[in-house]
Every structure is written in C-alpha cells, then in structure tokens.
Amino acid sequence: MPLERVEITKVIKRYGTERALAGVDLELRGGSMCALLGHNGAGKTTLLGILSTLVRASSGAITYRETGGAVVTGDAVRREIGLLAHQSLCYGELTAVENLALFAGLYGVDDSPAALAALLDRVGLEVRARDRAARTYSRGMVQRLALARALLSAPSLVLLDEPFTGLDRGGALALGEQLGALTAEGAIVVVVTHDLEAIAGRTDHVAILRAGKLVFEERGAYDYEKLKDTYHRHAS
C-alpha cells in the first residue's frame, strides 16, 4: 500500500560523540515535494538515511502511514521507498539491464526486458549503452541508471540526495520535471539539493536544517527568487 504521510518526531542521531541531528520534527505528505536544504554537515543526509530505514535514530520516532492512516512497518515500508543517493547503488560490473533485473527480482516486480526497457526510456538512458557495464558510463548516465533503480518499484516515498549533480542543465531540468510528475501522482518526494533552480516552481514545502536542527519550515509555492532568498536567510 502506498505511503501517504510520514511523521518525524523528535529525532536525534548521534555518531559516537558527534550529534548529527538534534531533535527534528517534520511531517511529510503525499503529493508534496519537500526541499530539504542546508549547508554541508547540517544533517540532511543523515535524515534521509533515517527516513530510508537504514540508519537507526538514537532517539525519537518515524511513523509511516498509508492512505487511511494505518501505520506501516518493516519490509512493507522498504517496498515503498525509492532512494537516489550520492553513489549510484548499482553494480559497476553489471550492465544497466542486469542491474535493474537484479533489483526487480529482489523487489518482486516485473523484470521482463520490456518493462526494464520502458523504465530506461523513461529516465532517458541511451539504448546502445544499456548492455555495457555500468562502470563505463559517464556521470550523467550513471545518474539516470540510479534514478531508474530508485523508481523501479514504483515507490510512494522518493528520497533524493543531490540528484542533480553530474547532470547538465537540460538533464537537471528534465529530472526536476520528472520529480514534479511523481509528486503529481501522489508520491511523497524529499529532495536534498543545492540546485535551487531545478526545483524552483515545483517544491511546495521547504525545510532548512542547520547544525542538526530544523530552523525553518514552510509550506507554499516557491519560485526561484523566493527559494534563494529563504535559503540564504536561514541556512547560515
């Protein structure tokens, strides 16, 4: 069942003596794109890690709810999460198609060549590159493959960590458009990025972290100027 709402309550994360998150409260809603902003080391990646269930919060809780409000836990949550991380999360020695077939098998979704080809068409990975080992790809191609892997299971919670790096302007704007489409389909989209231009006009929820704390949060329409202004005012 797709997720409709994620509640982050008083989340603290410590790494040894370092405090990466210092009590964050945030609510994420379906059909909304949250821009999670802040300087390096503000805790954005840690928060994405906790949202992706792969990092345990030192204290506090994350509640995943599906439509109707029932709480979802365990494997069922992971089925609904699509993650685009700093690294590609794909095997360099395998081809794009092999990578997707492997993960399709693990997610238990359609791994037929036609389905995988359709997905690769959607992210715009050139046909002739699809049967080459992924380590030979350019940064932009890797990013497209990574996106295809993230969207493979038709996730309802899409987490993206700097998705626009390595893409040219056209690619970045096209990706921004795709994220907008995902949001329109009802997914919860969380974007960590410094590329405010690519998300301008699409994000409707801005959250800014500073030194592990949420210093600003607002829902509403954001154009580029407003986004830039808000970011510079609150991030440092």
């Binding site: 890690g49 992706s52 269930t53 792969l54 990092v55 345990r56 494997d75 069922a76 992971r78 089925r79 999460i81 993650l83 991380a85 700093h86 690294q87 590609s88 999360l89 794909c90 095997y91 360099g92 020695e93 395998l94 092999e98 492997l102 993960f103 399709a104 098998g105 693990l106 997610y107 238990g108 979704v109 359609d110 389905a115 892997r149 299971s153 038709a154």
Partner: protein
Amino acid sequence: MPAERPRQGVLRQAWRIAWKDLKVELRSREIVYTMAFFGAVIVVVYSFAFPSSSALVRLGAPGLLWVSTMFAGTIGLGRAFDRERENDTLRALMLTPVPRLAIFLGKGIAITFLVGAVALVVTPLMALLMDVPFFDHPGELALALLLGAVGFSAIGTVFAATLLKVRSRDVLLPVIIYPILIPLFAFGTEATAALLKVPADLDNAWYWIGLLGAYDAAFLVLSMWIFESLVIE
C-alpha cells in the same frame, strides 16, 4: 505500476544475490586469481621456512593448509565487500524488501565459493611442493575444508558487512575475526592431521569434523540472528 508477483522464498532471493556476486567474479576473475596466487605464494614461503621433506613438514602441513586458506580467504573477503562499497550497493540490497537473512546468506554463499576455490588451488599445490599425502582421504578432507569455508564465511560476512564504512576496516577485519575463528582453525587442523597419520586415524578425524559441524551450526545460527542488528547503523 508494475504488477507485483507473489513473494519469493528467502533461499531463492539469497541465491539471486550470490549468483550476482559470482557473475561479477566470473567476468573479472579478479578475486579468484589474486586469492589463489596469494595462497600459492604463502605455500611457497612456507616451503622455504621449513626444511622440505623433513618430519617437520608432515607435522606442520595440516596447520599450513588451514593458515594459507584462511589468510587468502581474508583477502578475498575484504575485496568482495569492497565491491559492495564502491557504489554503496550493500545499502541498495539492504533497502530492498528482501529479508536481511537472504542478504546475509547470499553474500555468505558467494564467499564460501571463493574460499572453496582457494582451497582447491592450495591443497594440491601443498601436496605437490611439500610432498604431503592430502589425497589419501579426499572425501573427508574436502568435507572438513567445506565446513571450514562455511564457518569462515558466516563470521566473515557478518563483520565485513558491519565494517564496510569504517576507515580502518582492513586492519580491524582480521583483528576481529581471527580470535573468533581460532577454534575453527584448530578443529580443521586436528582433523587434517588425523587424516595424515599413517595409518589414518579416521575415528579421530570424524570427531574433529563433527566439532567443525557443531561450530558452524552455532555460528551460523548466531550470525543469521544478529546480522541485521549489527549492519543497521
């Protein structure tokens, strides 16, 4: 939205992950070649360390066989998990709805194959260079080595996966797993020594092989049970 297929069994998923590892390895053969070469070099170094064809070699051979396999296995283990770190793919595996047990088993099966491959190279080489009759009881020796590989892989997989993001992982991996593996190493050596006796002491050999089995069973259960709670940050 792609149609969801019925959930597949843990073993099937584990095999999917193991097969992925083996496919990557079959393409580059990097780990098998380097591990086998390293194992062979250790054997050659030993054959200089001990005066050859003396009684010493015969007494030391069982231990040398297990030491070389374990050292070479550690190299392969480290490298196999380096591959998962390069693009953070272990995280991708952990993120799938597959039970973590399947991920542990998949990686463990792949490592077992690698260690087994090393043993296949090192054993005949030692038999040849040191003139040790390893092949008088091939079935028992193979079983002992297989059980050794399974135990090594189970413990190695748990800690190599946990160490994945730690900077000093290359040093800490042996620091952690060797003390735990010493009983396995000792049982294997004793079993091999019993097989090399003239005449072979089969009763004793089976006693030690049984202990290897018990050790594997205990640590497999523990590893399967604890893997998830160790690997999640």
